[in-house]
């Protein structure tokens, strides 16, 4: 017996409604509880940093503060941020002399090895919190990711310690924490910026060479700085969408 039009439409309607309800219910079961609501809305922010090379004095207070705040191993060679010292012969930009004793943890004591014909400057470095991050693309297990507010983070409970991301980062910003054998990196002090504080390095920088900025907040002074200065990101040819903007960056900086 063929169904009449009314019963066919009713049946189809019920099927549609019920299957939608079932799929919504199933989504809810699979998704579990969404993150605990706070007064911080991730989609309202897009974090970045400005580094003014012309203000950096190489005191190393930023990385001392970083190690304190984030429990970074106190041994040399483990840094979430560090300071490099450049000596560049103006006629040979290809071969800068770069050093960073202990990352600049004790500043740069002593006279160094200055050259009267060269230019000298410091370059603070940290994770560039790339919008199209190579480290995120290579992670095989979804342990590293760009958060909805533009911060590259690591899920330490998921990280296998495979080191793909350490190799993928063009800026050398990642290391393996010897205590956990998982990868570690700058979180842009995510626990601070989500509470309305600035990062530990920006909080302690005595010359204001580092400034945290929220690109989605129109009142943030970072917009005035970016408008008024010629800024560069590191390795723009890598097309990583880096969000650490350097003012006064020399062409010799790698």
């Amino acid at each position: 017996m063929n169904p009449d039009r009314r019963s066919f439409l009713l049946g189809t309607g019920k099927l549609l409604v019920l299957s939608t309800a079932a799929s919504v219910a199933w989504e809810a079961i699979v998704a579990g509880r969404p993150e605990t609501a706070t007064n911080y809305t991730m989609t309202d922010h897009w974090w970045a940093m400005v580094v003014d090379i012309e203000s950096c004095i190489g005191c190393g207070i930023c990385l001392r503060a970083c190690k304190e705040e984030n429990d970074v191993p106190r041994m040399p060679q483990y840094f979430r941020t560090w300071v490099e010292r450049y000596r560049v012969n103006p006629s040979d930009l290809e071969h800068p002399v770069v050093d960073s004793p202990n990352g600049g943890y004790d500043g740069f004591p002593g006279k160094g090895d200055p050259d009267p014909d060269a230019k000298h400057f410091f370059v603070p470095k940290l994770c560039n919190h790339c919008a199209d991050s190579p480290c995120v693309q290579v992670c095989p297990v979804g342990a590293t990711f760009v958060s909805p507010d533009g911060v590259v983070l690591v899920d330490k409970t998921y990280c296998l310690g495979c080191r793909y991301c350490v190799q993928a980062c063009p800026y050398g910003c990642r290391f393996i924490d010897p205590r956990t054998s998982t990868v570690d990196k700058c979180t842009l002090c995510y626990h601070r910026i989500t509470k309305g504080l600035t990062t530990a390095c920006c909080e302690t920088c005595p010359t204001g060479a580092r400034q945290l900025g929220d690109l989605k907040n129109k009142k943030d002074p970072i917009h005035q700085f970016l408008l008024g200065h010629h800024v560069l990101v590191l390795k723009p040819q890598m097309a990583t969408g880096a969000k650490v903007y350097y003012n006064g960056l020399d062409g010799s900086v790698r």
Partner: protein
């Protein structure tokens, strides 16, 4: 009976096996995939809460200024006015939490001041620098300079 109904029992057994396999797959998936995976992207959204839950060590300048009005007044117009308190005094969130207890150690000015002000060709030319050994061979810097307002009149 002839025709397809002959294999009915066989089909039912296969269907049962399939149903069991599919159920096992979903149970396995439910156990292995953490709650909310994929909510924002290919990661566990709980990792955001983990990153946010880390303890604070630096309280931030505003917290210092709540209590230390005298220092705020001393720094008005000073060349050190814009420096965060904890740049020199170290992490003080525990001090704030303890309501002023757990006072920080007084910094050694000969080490601390030199970290910024020792002469170096790498520093910007306009930044005030001294060769500490010549400028003051011994004694603390704070014997002459007040660190909150360092200019000597």
């Amino acid at each position: 009976m002839s025709g397809w109904l002959k294999d009915k029992e066989h089909l039912a057994r296969m269907a049962g096996l399939f149903a069991l396999g599919i159920t096992a797959f979903f149970v396995f998936r439910w156990v292995m995939v953490p709650a909310g995976f994929g909510l924002y992207g290919h990661y566990r959204p709980g990792a955001l809460d983990d990153a946010r839950a880390r303890p604070l060590h630096y309280a931030g300048r505003a917290a210092c200024e709540d209590c230390h009005a005298d220092v705020v007044a001393a720094r008005v117009g000073s060349r050190h006015a814009r420096i965060g308190c904890e740049a020199c005094h170290g992490p003080l969130f525990a001090h704030v939490q303890a309501g002023g207890e757990k006072k920080p150690a007084r910094p050694d000015s000969r080490i601390l001041c030199a970290r910024c002000h020792e002469t170096s060709p790498w520093k910007p030319k306009a930044f005030p620098q001294v060769v500490v050994a010549e400028h003051s061979p011994e004694g603390p810097c704070v014997a002459c300079h007040k660190p909150h307002a360092p200019k000597m009149s």
